[in-house]
């Protein structure tokens, strides 16, 4: 009991002393239905840089909230998808996009799955041809010995 009281007191102290990030509450920017559709479509394609495996649509991080607000503001200003993505990559790099752009630098990344399938298929065909070249044959049986066994048992 004493211990529990001590725990609660400690927690209360910690909470009182803890400073926190300031999150200013901003009014929701109104969008037309088309803009809202663009905004909703864009968010799942953008990565939250704090949690990295969550998109801006699902992340609870405060930076994600700030970025959602920025994106919403850009959509409301009439910016298109390319301009908004450029706004983000200018600041955070291609990493903010789940789908990296196809350029010389990322060519290997995009080609890798197809290359791997190609290598796999080549290996599979090579293996298939090798096994077909040597058809499986029954080892020659000793006919006389077999007949003898059969005769003995009949």
């Amino acid at each position: 009991m004493k211990r529990r009281v001590a725990c609660v007191l400690l927690l209360a102290l910690a909470a009182a002393g803890a400073r926190a990030e300031v999150q200013t509450v901003k009014p929701e920017i109104p969008l037309t239905p088309q803009q809202e559709a663009l905004y909703r479509g864009l968010l799942p394609e953008l990565r939250c840089l704090v949690c990295q495996n969550e998109s801006l649509a699902e992340s609870q991080a405060s930076l994600a909230a700030d970025l959602r607000y920025e994106v919403r503001g850009l959509v409301a200003k009439g910016e298109d998808e390319t301009a908004i993505k450029k706004y983000l990559t200018d600041r955070y790099g291609d990493f903010v996009l789940y789908k990296p752009p196809l350029e010389a630098r990322t060519a290997l990344l995009w080609a890798a799955p197809f290359l791997l399938v190609l290598i796999g298929l080549t290996m599979l065909f090579a293996y298939a041809r090798r096994t077909r070249a040597t058809p499986a044959t029954r080892p020659p049986a000793d006919e006389a010995a077999l007949r003898k066994i059969l005769d003995d048992h009949s």
Binding site: T89, Y92, G93
Partner: protein
């Protein structure tokens, strides 16, 4: 001979993982390196002037340090930043990121203030323009105002001596 190909493949994979697994996926390379520092216009904390812009940074190299009183990594690097400032090794501009002034003032009183000027970025808008995703982050700017280095996470003597000082030397 039969094992030659699998062995080569294994060796390649081991090499790939040796490189790949040592890299920290949380370090996102900044697209700002080599470019002019982003424009800003922010209020100062007790500055001679009420506001400061990116143009005021030019003339000498400067460390732009995004920090906050609520951030643990900032406490970690604070003593070293104090040392850099006191030795006159670096000119420091602090940008207080999404922080309450009522929290910042006692924090500075207790630990000391290494910054020549502190700007306040209450809404984190400047943070977004600089591509900040977790304080502390420190940008090294040369005299022309070009970003030449970005440190994500606390500043350490190793990073200062091995990475930043040589860059600053070659920049001047």
């Amino acid at each position: 001979m039969r094992f030659a190909i699998p062995l080569v493949v294994l060796a390649l994979l081991v090499g790939l993982f040796m490189i790949g697994l040592r890299r920290d996926p949380h370090l996102v390379p900044s697209p700002l390196i080599g470019k002019a520092a982003p424009a800003f216009d922010l209020p100062t904390l007790d500055g001679k002037r009420p506001r400061m812009t990116d143009a005021d940074l030019r003339g000498a190299p400067v460390l732009v340090n995004f920090f906050a009183s609520w951030c643990a990594g900032c406490q970690e690097e604070h003593a070293y930043l104090m040392q850099l400032a006191q030795n006159g090794q670096a000119r420091l501009l602090g940008i207080d990121y999404k922080d309450a002034e009522s929290d910042l003032r006692p924090w500075l009183t207790r630990r000391g203030n290494p910054y020549g000027v502190i700007l306040t970025d209450l809404e984190g808008k400047a943070g977004i323009d600089w591509g900040v995703y977790g304080v502390p982050e420190t940008f090294v700017l040369d005299a022309k105002g070009t970003v030449i280095y970005k440190q994500i996470g606390p500043m350490t003597p190793e990073i200062w001596q091995h990475d930043i000082q040589p860059l600053l030397r070659s920049a001047t």
